[in-house]
């Protein structure tokens, strides 16, 4: 085999016996969303807006499109560790887990970076306000009390467990599924 081109020579359907004899424009479940406009009927399908937004900031791009869209959002360009993870994710297509899972991971890392950034800028985030607990206290105090109680219990438990040290180390139970 000499030819490693994965795209085969296109077949002209008009040469196929019976081609199109049962075609029925009413047989279209997408009506009325879609006007039938195939690429063959739309010589203008590669049309792009005449002005393109200048790429003056880092913008990540799906590998499923040949170019950057004519406009794009510019806030929060990728930075830090989360940015590294995002750049990694964008090496994979939207069809692949290595695209979406790292992005979710990057979002979590980004949250920590956000807190650090706040502190670096001398701002202590008011978690109580950011979580909207004022409203919860007003409209659903019992839920908030339960949440706080659970939080306190977990925190106290963790402190107890940490302060008790690893003196009485239990044998680790191993099980295979």
């Amino acid at each position: 085999m000499e030819n490693h081109n994965v795209i085969n020579t296109p077949i002209d359907p008009k040469k196929i016996k019976g081609w199109g004899i049962d075609a029925d424009p009413k047989n279209d479940p997408t009506y009325p969303m879609r006007n039938r406009m195939n690429i063959s009927q739309d010589p203008d399908f590669k049309h792009r807006p005449k002005s393109l937004q200048p790429e003056d900031t880092e913008v990540l791009r799906s590998i499923e499109r040949p170019n950057v869209s004519a406009v794009f959002g510019t806030p929060e360009p990728p930075t830090g560790l989360s940015g590294l993870i995002r750049r990694f994710a964008f090496q994979f297509s939207e069809n692949q887990y290595p695209h979406w899972l790292p992005l979710l991971l990057a979002d979590r890392v980004n949250v920590v970076e956000g807190v650090v950034d706040d502190l670096v800028h001398g701002h202590i985030p008011n978690i109580f306000a950011e979580k909207g607990y004022k409203a919860e206290w007003k409209h659903s105090p019992q839920t908030l009390v339960l949440k706080m109680a659970a939080f306190t219990a977990v925190t106290a438990g963790t402190i107890l467990w940490l302060s008790s040290g690893n003196k009485k180390k239990k044998p680790v139970k191993r099980s295979r599924y």
Binding site: P29, T30, M33, R34, M37, I39, D42, D44, F45, H47, R48, P49, S51, L52, Q53, P54, V59, L60, R61, S62, E64, R65, V68, S69, A70, V71, F72, G73, T74, P75, E76, S82, R86, E94, N95, Y97, W100, L103, L104, A106, D107, R108, N110, V111, E113, G114, V115, P125, N126, A129, E130, K131, G132, Y133, K134, A135, E136, H139, S140, T143
Partner: protein, 384 residues
């Protein structure tokens, strides 16, 4: 300017941010007069949408006044008050020219499956949204529609998403005169979808949810039957039973990935993140629709993986449709409906908060507290 800012799952705040700038000759800057918190914002708020970056501003439902335009903007001018569709669309690409403004190919660089949406993560283009005093609006010749004479701003802001999405949900359900239509989810979209089902000639409209206050609201607003799935046993069996054991003609999924009602789905989809959210509503939709029926999906599901009963979809001969709504395509008709009193969008609004209290707004809406159906946020500059 003041803007809402995402800090992490269930953490948002109002902060001072730099003014948005014109980045493309067809951009406009809009001073926001009304903006809403939407059910689909909760997917972002809960941290379920990939590439939601800390520091981003949400808000895809807003109306406002044009304060600055780029050199190629000709259809609107400074001082115009505009309804801004939630999708960002160029109006010229292969998809836009088919009226699929929700699927524009020239607004979102970062994914191809979804068009660009204001304030909806970098997966949807990385644009800041309208939960702010000012917002950059690309393609100002295409989306923004001048506010019709005398239209209430509260009605107008619901024309950016809720009304068209509810309407398109009913449209995609292919409702024929006399059909029985079931809507899963009595949030604003579900309520509006139920209301719009009548406009397509439905013979019976049924809405299913688990919050009694929302069901009561739907009963009154949409003139539909409303049932609490915690009280009817298996909702699929229940729907079969009340439809002569055949199933509904059309089912609308207005829930998406945050669905409650199935422990296994909650565990695998929302707690363990083994699938992209829980697909409970979609399961119910596929299984409760009549054979040969239509399932219309407007609930938001995450990318790539969902444990969906696709085998039943094939065996039952279903048609399934879903899309982001092409707001611009539907706006002229819907403006008519509002002006003629056929639809009353602002009737959905139960809460109004200053933008400064955005964190409380999200908490109230996501916690379904205080009988909340729809929240409007008022930026401080909105009253000038």
């Amino acid at each position: 300017m003041l803007a809402m800012e995402y800090r992490g799952p269930k953490r948002v705040r109002a902060v001072q941010k730099p003014m948005p700038e014109i980045k493309h000759p067809q951009d406009a800057i809009v001073r926001v007069l009304r903006t809403c918190i939407c059910g689909s914002d909760l997917h972002l708020y809960n941290g379920n949408v990939p590439d939601t970056r800390v520091g981003s501003t949400f808000g895809h439902e807003f109306v406002g006044e044009i304060v600055e335009v780029g050199t190629e903007v000709t259809k609107v001018k400074v001082g115009d008050r505009v309804i801004v569709p939630f999708n960002i669309a160029c109006g010229e690409c292969h998809f836009c020219r088919q009226g699929m403004f929700g699927n524009c190919h020239e607004s979102n660089t970062e994914s191809t499956a979804v068009g660009a949406i204001f304030g909806y993560s970098h997966t949807a283009g990385g644009f800041n949204g309208g939960q702010a005093e000012y917002c950059r609006v690309p393609y100002a010749n295409v989306g923004p529609t001048i506010l019709p004479e005398g239209m209430d701003l509260d009605d107008a802001v619901l024309l950016t998403d809720v009304v068209p999405t509810g309407y398109q949900a009913a449209e995609m359900a292919g409702i024929q005169t006399g059909d029985t239509v079931v809507v899963f989810g009595a949030g604003p979209i579900g309520i509006m979808a139920a209301r719009c089902a009548w406009l397509f000639g439905a013979g019976r409209v049924i809405i299913i949810d688990q919050e009694d206050y929302r069901l009561e609201f739907a009963r009154n607003y949409s003139y539909c039957e409303a049932y609490n799935f915690n009280e009817i046993g298996d909702p699929v069996v229940f729907i079969k039973k009340i439809t002569d054991w055949l199933g509904a003609d059309c089912v609308i999924d207005a829930v998406g990935a945050e669905a409650a009602g199935n422990a296994l789905q909650t565990l695998t989809g929302r707690k363990l993140l083994l699938q992209a959210g829980s697909a409970t509503a979609l399961h119910w939709a596929i299984n409760s629709v009549k054979k040969g029926g239509v399932v219309s999906i407007v609930g938001v599901y995450g990318p790539t993986d969902n444990l969906v009963p696709i085998g039943n979809m094939m065996n039952k001969g279903l048609t399934m449709r879903g899309n982001q709504t092409s707001v611009k395509r539907l706006l002229p008709r819907l403006i008519e409906h509002v002006q003629n009193g056929v639809l009353n969008p602002k009737g959905l609004i139960t809460h109004r908060l200053p933008l400064e209290e955005v964190a409380d707004g999200y908490r109230i809406f996501s916690g379904k507290m205080d009988n909340c159906i729809k929240t409007v946020l008022m930026p401080p500059t909105a009253n000038q």
